[in-house]
Symmetry: C2
Subunit: 344 residues, 2 copies
């Protein structure tokens, strides 16, 4: 156990597939299918990487818990994540997700909004099933964790949407970190690990000890994701490259650029962000991208991602030094390094 032989990809696929099977199992076999239940597996089947269920299951097992006890919670996490994606694509008016057309584009905004709502409420089914395997007290605790998790996420989303709506251009790295803590870190890193550990210890562990670790990890993960949107391999990445610029997303690179460019460049970028849905939007996005290159904005983001990854690993070693060696502990360590170094 824990000898460095763990195959990261094999674990990731195995844990993700547990969550996907869990989702497939709770989809009712009844009408309406065409515009509801048939679409629930659409995004999950496009091959997400399953970071959230993997973190949750591995955390539970590393703390001595059983897979059987955590599987419903891992399922709920993956389903909530996919529900967020469906609504995100409406909110961002996105065309592509994981290499294919978004639900809002292929079907309609209306169907996508309702599908996301359906997926959100379906996510409560595994949490209700938790009662049978965890007892009502711990099941209730997990339900509260999930409620807090979703709440943080919508707050983060509101912050970001507000910046875009008001065309806020005076932001700094700290503003970005605060927003990403809410929008990404809680539901992608912190709560999956917390929930796994709570289940393993029958609710006894102090779950807040993972908050800092998940914060560093989530920031690193998101910054890496934003960088890939600019310089990634479009095929692997599955979305339009530079789409974030066109959508006016306040990324670390954009914030760095706005803080370092000339006054006249600032005004031009600001005006473009004010109304980015123009015929020449792609040329403008390319121009913004070239400015980012010139001012070292992407290098700045890369360096932040690396620092945050280092801090996450440090926190990981601090927390998990007390935990016995196991394949799952080793997998967690590898997963953290992978999440923040991935090229798609």
């Amino acid at each position: 156990m824990g000898t460095g032989t763990v195959d990261l990809q094999e674990f990731l696929i195995r844990y993700r597939d547990i969550a996907l099977a869990g989702i497939a199992e709770i989809i009712p076999d009844k009408e309406p299918k065409k515009y509801l239940y048939d679409l629930v597996m659409e995004y999950p089947n496009r091959g997400g990487k399953g970071f959230r269920p993997s973190l949750c299951i591995a955390s539970c097992k590393a703390f001595g818990g059983e897979l059987e006890k955590v599987k419903y919670s891992a399922t709920a996490l993956e389903l909530f994540h996919n529900a967020f994606l469906v609504h995100d694509d409406v909110e961002d008016n996105s065309d592509f997700r994981r290499g294919k057309g978004t639900i809002n584009r292929v079907n309609s905004n209306a169907i996508a909004v309702n599908l996301g709502d359906a997926m959100n409420v379906l996510s409560f089914t595994p949490l209700i099933k938790n009662e049978k395997i965890l007892g009502r007290k711990l099941a209730w605790k997990i339900f509260e964790e999930i409620r807090d998790m979703v709440n943080e996420t919508v707050e983060g989303q509101a912050l970001e949407l507000g910046w875009r709506k008001d065309n806020v251009c005076k932001l700094d790295d700290e503003d970005y970190f605060k927003m990403i803590l809410k929008k990404t870190c809680w539901y992608t890193c912190i709560y999956p690990v917390r929930i796994g550990a709570l289940i393993a210890t029958n609710g006894k562990i102090d779950a807040s000890q993972f908050n800092r670790f998940g914060y560093y990890m989530g920031i690193s993960f998101q910054v890496q994701d934003d960088i890939l949107n600019l310089v990634g391999d479009e095929k692997k990445y599955g979305k339009e490259l530079k789409g974030d610029i066109v959508e006016g997303k306040r990324t670390l690179m954009l914030i760095h650029l706005l803080n370092h460019c000339t006054k006249s460049e600032f005004k031009k970028v600001e005006a473009y962000l004010e109304n980015s849905d123009v015929p020449e939007k792609n040329e403008m996005a390319e121009w913004v991208y070239q400015l980012m290159l010139r001012y070292g904005s992407i290098d700045h983001a890369r360096s932040i991602a690396k620092n945050m990854a280092g801090a996450a690993l440090q926190e990981f070693y601090r927390i998990f030094s007390k935990v016995p060696a196991s394949d799952d502990k080793q997998f967690l360590e590898k997963l953290i390094i992978y999440m923040i170094n991935r090229d798609y």
Copy 2:
């Protein structure tokens, strides 16, 4: 008690205001305000009638329960309802709600989608608070009721959106009833009454006895709502009259018309529904409305609404004959008659 002296409007306002105060109380006093927490009360403050919390509270009290025990559940029902409205307005691309601009129009689709998600998750806060006043077992039962309720609602919404998306024009009254059972009856009538009675009896009552009653009542309520969209007082109604026709909603009147008009009229209506967002949409909607008048479609709907209302009252008397007289029982009876006879 129960002498016919109950003031319907006074009760409605009192019970609605309990739910509104409950919502206001759970809104966190923190950022992000402008595009999130400040908007949660926007629709509730526009003066909904509070049918759902009123049904729930009165049902609980009529069965001998205390207001203090049902208030959180009534709050959750009203908040879920308002979350549905926020997303409905995005899905229907509506301009007005309760006499003012919709969130999607005044802010943006993105902010409305996220706000609805936030309101959905906030609705779980009173359900978590239920634990303290109901004990964990009953609180859990109510949580399951709510999960089933929301699930029915998104299924009904998917059915209706699917009909519009595929421009389904061959429907009959039964199809409509099935769709409205899911889209409206469960969350507007059946579950509010079930939840109130479950709380009053500490989970002991057979809640399914209210299903048929709430079905008749909900159909009558929705048909009345659809009729008001055609012939109501726009000021009182708060939405664009004939908006349902422009949006291609499959109402009982439209279904009746499609089953009774000539083949060439059918083709013309069908073609208009296929693409109703045309410059002459208002003239076309007026033409469809005149056809409905000519073929007696509105009279048909009125007669269905009356029949369903009668069936609802019959069910009400059957169920509540065993329940002692009280102001709340009397209020419930008056409320049913009011909900299905209202002119706005």
